[in-house]
Every structure is written in structure tokens, then in C-alpha cells.
Symmetry: C5
Subunit: 352 residues, 5 copies
């Protein structure tokens, strides 16, 4: 048995593969293998299959592609992943690449997951490469709204797009929260904020890269579902999704501008704060030197009488003053006079 | 009785709900309940109803939506609010989202209020989520201009748009005033101005987000009222509103540029001022050190004779000079000579 | 008599109102009152009236509007003024808003004047709100060129537009001159230049706001005169005016770029110059401290022999050295040895 | 024999010229000279020739151009090289200029090679001016896929374009790797990173210059192969190539933005780090001066008793204290008192 | 004789005026006066005249305009000069304004020359206002290529455009060379480079102003020669010229970006270098102060024994120590002990 056939015949693993048959908006079957899913589709006209894959093995995807006639290029993209969001049409099958986003609160990061959707006349195949979006919830919502599900594979695509775009809202809110925090930190002068601004900028650019092409896809679909037969109502719903996506994309554009402003602002404030500190230190140094100057000046004032004392301490035999009765008071007075004179001179010069 | 029916049957609360019936440009009735409003519309062809809601409960809005056949997506938007300004058409009903703005002088902030308008063939429903614009004044103006009001629901939409755009003028004036003040503060070197520039930038970006999509709406309406039946004259009036909105939007664009320039300017000026202060402090330090240097130099000059005095103050028995008659004058002369020499040396070296 | 009729019947004041009747390119009459102007227009088919108003009272404008059937919105704009340049068509009347500019050499400012022009089938009404452009000169030129004037009201509009755009050339030259001066000041390091750059940037933005919409108007007119009946030749003339306006607008765009570059350049140069000064001061301080260090070192060198002198100046009874014959020379030699040793040590350590 | 004929008749040098004849997707011949290649093409309808040239001499290219009727302007471009990527159509021949890129790990540079391709109805001529792309590998791939090769010269063009665009992926990865390293260096504060950021920016701009026009070419070809007869499938393949090229171009656009951010970030961080160092040095200086101040203050405190000692060391005959019994203890006490007083004064003033 | 007739009748001055008659791609006559040129054109159907003027007197240009029916506005532009590059059509005459550029190596400046070309059905009039381009070379080339010249006046226009665009290549190379030099200077830290960057930016902006409108002209001509009858081949040649012009314009756009990057880079590097110098100076100051501190500390250490010496030098009668036999050794030991203690204290405090 060749590996592709084996992949198709294997019982579906609920974690990795899900498969359901819908008729008229209701789930009518959950075939245990992909092979049986194919059979149902072939035997029962008017039913629709939704096959969900989570990180499928290439061989599995190739087997499914063979069955549904998916185009080789699209399948290659779905295997390789790392595609930009895009919408392509191969015959009567649409191939949609999406980037869902989740905000991870604990690490303050946006986590992107790639999702590939094949939408054919009577089937939808979803290939998830990450955790988001929660396709089980999408399936649950659709099964609870038969009116919508009855509209066929395009309704499933709509519900997935809606879920992806709804998932952007908490990301935008998380980014907004980070920006608000950063703003506070910038004004508080936290030195680590520079790095945080830069890292958030990169998150925002990544998000723009995910959301911008999605806008193009959504607007294209809303404007006529790529010429694919769609009813008016579904188009309106897609218009609503496009509108929410635009709101998200515009807010993120504002984030980018705001972060650029904040980066400049932070550079200015940090530089101001540092200069302010240097200025204060320089002022303190000035005051300190002023004290050193005063100490030096006082020392100089004390030094002058010492010179006089040293003179009269010399041991020359013929020093007339030594024998004066008033020699000693005279010397003391001379010392005092010198001190006072120096004090006055220094005072006038601002040295004291 | 189900809550929707109850909401409709309840007497209208003038603060929260207003309801009026117009015929041929004049108010002909003010039904006390929404139920009666519906009845009038059904019974009297050619009349128009204007129902004004202020922060309605979801159930109330849903009841009204049911009566007028408003589209589910539009109603959801009106309940959730936080929409971007937009214009959508559901069948023969237009759904318009607007952001009115007020300038709060005391806190120097722009206050935005979301307003939703449903314009049908014979009704206008306005849903206010904030204080602006003053719809009572709009109603008053329209009731005083039957020629205009006679033109039907689109005339009401025009009058609301006119009021919203007129409300932008004082905001623009307020922002201009703030920018002028900031300019003065920047040149005066007020350190808190950095934060004010940043905060005003954010206000300006917010205002751009409100006014830009409105421009698209107005130009779309003026270019043909979304293919909706409109008379030439009304289109001209809308063109006039679009013109005023463009003036406001362009001035705000200039504000954004100006604020970016001011941010750079402020960074430059603050950095210049701080460097200037540091330079002055460094100059002052230099002058101070010059004085310390002089004091040290003078101290050194005084020190040399002290050494001589100390030498002749030694108690050796055999010190011939001590017995010289001219020993003492010689010592004094030596001291003076050393002082003068040092003075000259220091002077030549620039140490004094 | 109601005030409007009074305004119309009043004799025209040459300073505030001018009125002339043209036929076949020549002035045939200058009616003394507006009432008579109207009469001429009504009685004589094939004539054209040009009424010039300078800051008219609202009542006067309203009276004229009534006579010529000018649209209420246009008249409101003309009364309120502060409009952006625009071109609007109401029935067979064009309404043009222009911003003329003059360069005031003494205060280095651009002075803008708003001008409103109504162009009807057989009349031109000009409403000036400022000094520029010199409409008397335009009238003079036209009256000297009957070939042009014969082409009717559109020719007058052309001549006014030509005059407005010609008036931009000296403004552009003035701004260029300012930029050249600023450039010189920036490289010379004039500290007041920062403010001048900022203020000139604002002038340039203002000028862009005046000239850009004018370009749109002129290109629109040149491309077909708003579907208004115009001859090929006039269109060519308008094309020429549009061309000159484009030249002006492009140079001003370059000014904006250049000023942005200059702002960055100035910030860089100022910061360099200040840092250079701080560096020089720091270098000077270093040299100064070097001197203080040397003085201190010399003082320390002098201090060591003082200690020796002090020791031998002690009065102990049993100090054997004092009685040595060579005590005194020994002490002097010791002093010299200490000085020389210290000198060598300090020299080796770089303290001298 | 003229040089062109000689060039054509010369046996092909496998390093410089390669020549092959294909029929129905398979290589049927490898003529030893260009002359024989021409003959095959003329004699055997339905075959296709692929001539590969590596830096051909002008005469060789001119000889080939003569044979295939290549347009003079295109040939001139192929000789001169240094063209921007472009697509031109001369009659039934397409002329494509491409810039292939390789990432040179060792020197961290992107190496660009110009490639010219002439695509005619039954021939492809490739002119390589550099090492990339590996056309031998392209030929190998095509010869292994007859289904593709059977589609004719356009299939060869597709395979070349695919190879060029595939070659961009490692370049993008290399640039990404450099940016990641630079980021780390910026946060680590490596001073040489400034130059590296600048040099990488220039590489990125060069790459943008190569990739952007290629996008235009690919989208043009995918949208209809320049009106050239192409089958649907080939167009889809070209669409896929265009998609990969867009992904590369978009990532490189993000690189440009990121590098601009990093440049600002680096300037901020470097300036912060330097200011921080200056601040620390200034703080250290302050602490140092504090010590100098204390030393000076202690010296001054020691100096005061010295003055007293000097006074009582004077040799006046009439100094009553000298004869007091308590003279000596008194002097010592005076000294201690002065020291303590000074200590207290200095302490209070913060000089100690 | 009126001045215009005189200008026409004057013999042509080869430096200022050149005139030639072409038939079927060959020069058939070089009339000595403009009057004779006119006559040839009138008498001989199928000939083409090329009149070249260098800075003509207005009267001369007006005389020629009269003969060829050139439009007054175009002639005015050609007299006034200082036009932006443009293409205008007056009846069957094209009026083209071009800006040729030369790179002046010695002063590192781009020299722009304005060139005006009138292209009529059977004449080309070129009006040069500067040295570039070398129209004699263009004439020479054309006369050597009768196949091209035979295509008529448009061929002459093509050859002129080709020459102008070819002249851009050395300018681009010169600017590239300057940028490379500037780059080196920036990394070497040459302080004058700031000014050079700014001045080169202005040259680049000027060049962009010359080349951008030319691109529009060339693309317009290549896309259909302004609806003027042109053969396919000439259009292809124009496409080639447009291509070269685009290459030049794109490289200059990259220059602008690069210079902006370099300006930022230079500011960063200069500021880093200055801060580095200030840091080194501050470090040197620190080391210097450390030495001053040590000198002060050593001085203080020497000072303490001096105090002791001074004490025992006092002349009190009752000083018991003086009479001790071990007084002197005790004093010396005390001195040593004080010195050692101070040394240890200072050492512990880091003052030594």
C-alpha cells in the first residue's frame, strides 16, 4: 500500500485531523477516515465536507490534494508555510493564506500562526500551522447557526476570517496597553524602556505585515468574492469583517506613528535627564571647589603670621626687636594686622 | 409582555428618547411612545419620523431595528459603538457612523462622541453615545427652515453632518491655541513642554482619525449621495460641508507637521540650553580654579621665607651667620629676594 | 428704503467699489451707482460688467448677490472669508477663492490676502479682503489689450489668476533669500538661527497651503475651464499660468525639504560647536590643574627642609647634633638632599 | 573572413558558450558551433535553441544578434550592461534584464550579477555578466521536466526567473541574520556597530533596487505575459514566482525600516552610554575632590597649633607667658582648643 | 529697416547662430542668413531646417517666431528662461524645455544649462542658454546617420534628448564619487564633512528637479509622441532614452536617501567622537586630581612632625621634656610614629 493511500485510509486522529459532512446546514456525518469522507462526497450530491488538518505530514496533504485536485503550487505553499497572507484562485478552488495572531500576556509578545484554507465547490480544507485561531470554536459557532452554514463553503471561509479578525482585537488591546505602559515609563525615565520601545516596534511591524494583506483579501472578497458565486448577504458579512480588520489595521498604523514619536521623545527625555544630572554634579563640584578655595584661603591667612613668628624665632644675636619691651605685643599685632589685611583682600577678591 | 414590546410601548423619556413626526417640513406630532410613532408612519403616507436616542439599552435598539427593518450588522455596530466613521448602505437604508468632537478648554483635551444615524425612506434614527453634537439645536434649526426640512430624511442627515463639521472649528481653534502656547513655551525653555507636545500630538492623531474618514463619507455623499435619490441643491450643501471638513482636516495635517517640527526644535533648544548651562558652569569652575591656583601660588611664595626663617631658627652652636651684625637684615633681604624671585617666576608662568 | 436697495443706489466710492461696463474689449461706461450698472447690463446685450469690491459690508454683498443671482453658500463664503482656495460652479456662475501673497521685506513675512471672484455670463465680481493682488493694475492691463478683454469674463478671471501667480515669484525669491541667509548663519553658528528656521518653515507651510489648491484650480481650468465655454487660446494662457504656479509650488516644496535638512544640520552644528567649547574648556581646566599640581608639588618640596629646620630648632638640652661643628652644614646638606630626592621622585611620577 | 563570421564558426567553448537544440521538451542536439545551431533552427521546424553566453565579446554578441534579428538597442544594453531590471519587447522578441543576487557569507555582502535574456519564438539567448544564477542548474532542471520544457522559450524564461527569485531567499536570510547580530551588538553597545548598520543599509537599498523592478516585470508577465501567447498554467507558475519575489521584497522593506529604527536606537543608546560614563566619571571626580577637601581641611586644622607653637618659639626677651609655670600646658591646651574648635567649625560647614 | 528684419537679414554668426537645410537625411545647404533659410523652406518642399541659437537677443527670437508662427507664450518662456523642464504643444509645433547638466570636477558642482527646442513640421529651432549639451556633436552624429535624420524633426529632438540624458551619466558618476569620498571622510571624522553633505544634498535635489520632469516628458513622448505622427522605431529609441533617464533618476533618488542616512550617521559619529574626547579628558582630569590628592596627602603627612618640632621649639622655661635625656629621641620617635599612623590612615582611606 502506498503511503498516500495509507494516509487516507488511516482513522482520523481527532487531535490532528477532523472531518465532517454537512448537508443543508447540519452535520450529518463524521467519517472515521478520509477515504470515507471522499466516498460520502462522491455518493451524496449536495453535501459539503470540512476537513481540518493540524500540521499535517506532507504525504497526508499530498494525498488529500490528489483527491480534491488541489493545485500543486498551492499545496507546496501549504507544506512549506511561511507564506504572506494571500488569496489565489485555481480553477473553482480558492486558496487562502492567513496569519492569525494571539497576544501572549506573560511575555508581551504577539504570536502569529499561519492558516491555509482551500475552499472548493463542496469542501473546505483548513491547514493549521499554529494554535490560533480556535477552529473548533468556529465549527461550533457554525453548527449552531444552520442558516449561515447552509450557504456553503464560502460561509465557512467567512466564519474563519471573522474568527481571525476577531482575534486581532485583543492583540490591538494588548499592544495599546504596552504603549500606555511604555509612555508612563518614558515619562518616569526608566532606562530599560528604550529596548522595550524597539521591541514593541518590531511586534507592530510584524502585525502590520499580517494585517495589511488580509485587508486586501477581505476587500477583494467583499467587493465580489473574487467573482465567485456569493450571495449578497455573505458579501455584507464579509464587508463587516473587512471593516473590523480596517479598524485594527488603522489603530496599528497609529501605534507605529506613536512609537516613532515615543522613540524621539524618549531620546530627548533621557538626554535631558542625563544632562540634568551632569549639570547637578557640575554644580555640586562647583560648590565643593568653592569650599576647597575657602579652606586654602584660610590656610593662607594663617600662614602669614606663621612667617612672622618664624622670623622672630630666628636665633640672630643682633635682632633689635627681640629686646624691645613691646616687641612681643608688636609681633602679635603685626600678625593680627597681616591676617586682617589678607582677610580683607581675599574677601574683596571673592576668595572667601 | 416581551421586553422589546415593553420598550416600544413605554412613554418616551425626553432625556433619553425623542420622537417627532414631520409633514411637509413642519412638525405635526410628537408621539408619546415609539409604538404610536410607528402607527403614525404606517397610517399617514408622506410623513417622516425622527427618533433620537441617547445611549439606548440594547433591547430598545433591537425593538426599533425590528420595526424599521434595520440590518443586524448595523444594529450590532450601533450597540457596540467604538466604530470608525463610515457610511454603509443596507437596502434603502443608509447607516452612518460619525465622530463629533468638542474641545474641553479646562483640561485641554479633545472629547470625541460617537454618533450613529440610520436614514431610511421616511425615518431618521439618531443614536448618540456622547454629548456632542447638540442634536436638539439641529432639530431646532431644521424646524425653523421648513424649505430644508421638506427635502426629507437626507436633509436631516445633512443638518447633522453640518453640525458635526461646524463643531470641528472650535476644536481646530483650540488645538491652534495650544500649539501657539507650546511654541512660546518652547522658545522660553519650559521643561514640561516636551510632555505637552507629545500629548497634543496624540490628540491631533485622534482628531485625524475622526476627520479623515468623514471626508471620504462627505465627498462620497456630495458626489451623488451614494446613488441615493438626492436633489441638486442638497448635494451643493453637502459639498459646502465637505469643504469645511477639508479645511479642518488640512489645518490639522499642518498641526501634525508643525508638532513634529516643534518636537525636533524643542529637543534642539533644550539640549542647547543645557549645554549652555554646563558650559557656563565649566567656565565658572575654570575661573574658580584660577583663584585656587593663585591662592596656592601665594601660599608657596610665603612658604619660601618661612623655610629661611626656620633655618636661622635652628639651634646649632656653630652657625656663623647668627653672629653677623648684618645677619638679621641679610636674612630678611634673602626672604624678600626669594619672594620676589618666586613672584616673578610664577608671574612668567601664568601662575599668578 | 431697505438697506440693500440703499447700498445699490449709493454712488460708488472709488476706494471701496469700482464698476465698469465693457463692450467688445473696451470700457464704454463707468456707472456711478451699482443700480445703474445693473440697468446697463439689462438694457444693452453684449456688454460685460466688472464690479470690484474691497472688504464690502455684508449688506452690500447680499444686495449684489440678489441682483446677479449668486448662490447663498458662495456669498456666505465671501462674507466669512478664511476659505481655502477653491473653484466651485453654481449654475452658470463660477465662484473662485484665491490667496494672493506678498513678501514683506522689512518683517521677513509672507502676507496673504484672500480674493473671491464670481464669474458669470456677462459679469465679473471681485471681492478683495486684503491688499494683494493689485486689481487696478490687472484692469489697466486688460483695458490695454482689447483682444484679450473681448474674450469676456473668463479673460478677466485669467488676468486675475495671472496676477496672483505672478505675485508668487517675489515671495519665492524672498523665501529663497531668507534660506540663503539662514544657511550662512547656520554655518557661522548664529544661535538665533534656530528660531528663524522654525518661523520660515511655518511661512513655507502657509505658502504651500495657498499654492497647492491653486494648482488644482488652474489645472482644472486649463484642462477645460470646468466645462465652461472657453476658447482654445484662453486655455493655453491658463496653461501658462498653471505652469508658473507649478514652478513656484515646486520650488517651495524644495524649500520645505531644504529647511528640514537645515534644521537637522543646525542641530548637529550647534551641538558640535557647544561640545567643542566644552572640550576646550575641559582642556583648559586640565592645563590649569596641571599648574596647580606643580605648585603643590613645589610646595611639598619646600616643605621637607622646613621639617628638618624645625627639628633642629627644637630646644632639647641633649641634642648632640647641635654641638657638632659640622651640624649646621650637615643640616643644610640634608635639606638639599631631601629637596633633590623629592624633586627626582616627583619628576619621575610626572608630578612636576 | 570577417570577425563576426569567425565568432559564429568557432567551436563553442563550454565555459563561455553553450548551445543546445530542444524538440518537444527534450535535448536533441548540442551543436559544436553557433553556425550549426543556426542551421538546425532553419532546417528543423518545431525545434528550439538555447544559447548561453558568459561575458561574451561584443563581436560575438553582434554576430548572434544579426542571426536572430535582435534589436540594436537591446544588444547595446547587453554589451554595456549596468542596466536596471526591465522587460522590453522588440517585435516578437522579449528582452529581459535581471539582477541575480548571492549572499557572500565571509564578507557579509550581497553580490549582484546582471543577466540578460532574449526570448524569441524559437530561441532563448542568455547573457550572463556574473556568477549568479546557476544557469547550468536551470538547464538541468528543465531537461528533467519535459512537460515544462515543451512549453517553449517562455518556459525557459520562467525557469530562469524562478531561479533568480529562489536565489533571493538566502540573501534575505543572510540580511536577517546580520540584522539580528547588529541588534545584539547595539544592545551590547559595540562601538563599531554604527558603521555596520550603515553598510547593511546600503546593501538593503541595493537589493531593493534589484528586486523592485523585478516585481513589476513578474507581475506584468503573470498578468498576461506582455500580451505574448502564453498558456494559463505558465502564467500561474509566474504568479507563484511573483509571489515569492513579493515576499522577499516586503521583508527587505521591513529591513529598511528596521535598520532606520536601529540607527536611531543606536545613536540613543551610544549617547546614553557615553553620558552615563561621563556621569560616573564626574561622580568619581566629586568623591575625589571631597577627599582633597578633607585633606586640606585636616591640614588647616594641624596648621593652627603650628602657628601657636611658632609664636611661643619667638625669641623676644619680654614674653611673660614663657616664664609661667603653666605656660607650656597652657600652650598645649590652647593648641588642642584651636584644633577642636576648627574641627567643629569645619564639621558644621561640611568641610570634613 | 526694422530691427526684426535686420536680425533676419544679417549673416549668421557661426558662434551664435547656425542654420542648415536637410533633405532626405543629408545637409543640402547652409544658408548665410536666416532670410535665406526661410526662402529655402518655402521654395523647396520636403526639406527641413535646423536653426541653432545661442543666447539670442529677444529681437532675434521674435523675428524667428514671426516667421515660423511660434506661439507667443513659448517664445516668452524661451526669452525669459528659468523654466522647469516641460513639453507643450502649440498647434503643430512642439515646445520642449530641457535642463542639461554637466559635472564640474574642479568645484564639485553640477552645472545646469537650459535648452529650448521648437519642433515644427519642417523645422527644428534650438535655443541654448548654457554650455551643455554639445549640440554641434549632436548635429555631427545626425549628419553621419542619414537613416535617422531622414525621419525628420522628431529625429533631431530624439538626438537632443539622447544627448541630454547621456550627459547625466557623468553627473551621476561624479555625485557617486563625492558620496564615496564623503563616506570615507565621515568615518575618518573630518569635521568639515557636515557642510559638504549638506551642499551635496542641495546638488542632488537640484538634479532631481531637472531629471524628474524630463522623465515625464520622455515617457509621454515614448508612449505616443504626444499624439504627434511618429514612427514605431523612433518611439523605441525614445523608450531607450527614457530608460537611461530612469536609471539616472533612480540612482539619484538613492543618493538622496543615502545622504540623509549619512547626515544622521555623521551627527552620531561626530557626537560620539566628541563625547569620547570629553570622556578621555575627564578621565585624564581624574588621574591628575588623584595626583594632586596624593601630593596633598604627603604634604599633610610631613606636616604633622613639623607641628611636633614646633612645639618643642617653643621657648617656655618650664618644659620638662626639654631636659629629658631621651627628649630628643622621643620627639623624633613621636614624629615618625605620627607619620606612620597618618600614612596608614590615609592608605586605608584611599588617599594615597
Amino acid at each position: 500500500m502506498d503511503p498516500r493511500a495509507a494516509a487516507v485510509a488511516a482513522p482520523v486522529d481527532q487531535n490532528m485531523v477532523s472531518s465532517a459532512i454537512y448537508r443543508d446546514g447540519h452535520r450529518v456525518d463524521s467519517p472515521p477516515t478520509l477515504a470515507e469522507t471522499y466516498q460520502r462526497l462522491r455518493e451524496q450530491p449536495g453535501v459539503m465536507a470540512w476537513i481540518g488538518l493540524y500540521r499535517p505530514a506532507p504525504v497526508q496533504l499530498l494525498a488529500i490534494a490528489e483527491e480534491f485536485g488541489l493545485h500543486e503550487l498551492a499545496v507546496e505553499d501549504a507544506i512549506v508555510a511561511h507564506q504572506r497572507p494571500k488569496l489565489e484562485r485555481y480553477g473553482d478552488t480558492l486558496f487562502v493564506v492567513l496569519r492569525a495572531a494571539r497576544y501572549l500576556d506573560d511575555v508581551e509578545e504577539v504570536d502569529f500562526s499561519e492558516l491555509h484554507v482551500f475552499v472548493g465547490p463542496n469542501f473546505v480544507i483548513t491547514v493549521r500551522h499554529g494554535e490560533a485561531p480556535d477552529l473548533a470554536a468556529v465549527r461550533h459557532r457554525l453548527e449552531g447557526d444552520p442558516d449561515l452554514l447552509r450557504r456553503g463553503p464560502e460561509a465557512v471561509l467567512y466564519a474563519i476570517l471573522d474568527s481571525v479578525v476577531d482575534g486581532y482585537a485583543p492583540v490591538v488591546a494588548g499592544l495599546q496597553h504596552d504603549i500606555d505602559e511604555i509612555e508612563t515609563e518614558v515619562f518616569r525615565g526608566d532606562p530599560r524602556v528604550t529596548r522595550r520601545i524597539y521591541e514593541l516596534s518590531r511586534e507592530v511591524i510584524e502585525f502590520q505585515r499580517a494585517a495589511r494583506p488580509l485587508l486586501t483579501i477581505l476587500n477583494g472578497l467583499a467587493a465580489g468574492f473574487d467573482k465567485y458565486g456569493t450571495d449578497e448577504e455573505l458579501r455584507r458579512y464579509l464587508g463587516d469583517v473587512a471593516d473590523h480588520a480596517t479598524t485594527a489595521a488603522e489603530r496599528v498604523d497609529v501605534f507605529r506613528q506613536t512609537l516613532a514619536d515615543i522613540l524621539t521623545l524618549n531620546a530627548t527625555l533621557v538626554s535631558q535627564a542625563q544632562n540634568e544630572e551632569i549639570k547637578h554634579l557640575t554644580e555640586a563640584s562647583y560648590a565643593q571647589n568653592e569650599e576647597i578655595k575657602k579652606i586654602s584661603a584660610w590656610a593662607a591667612i594663617l600662614f602669614a603670621p606663621t612667617l612672622i613668628g618664624t622670623i622672630y624665632g630666628m636665633n640672630f644675636e643682633y635682632m633689635p626687636e627681640l629686646r624691645w619691651r613691646v616687641g612681643y605685643p608688636f609681633a602679635l599685632a603685626l600678625m593680627a594686622a597681616v591676617c586682617v589685611s589678607l582677610y580683607l583682600v581675599f574677601k574683596r577678591r571673592g576668595w572667601l
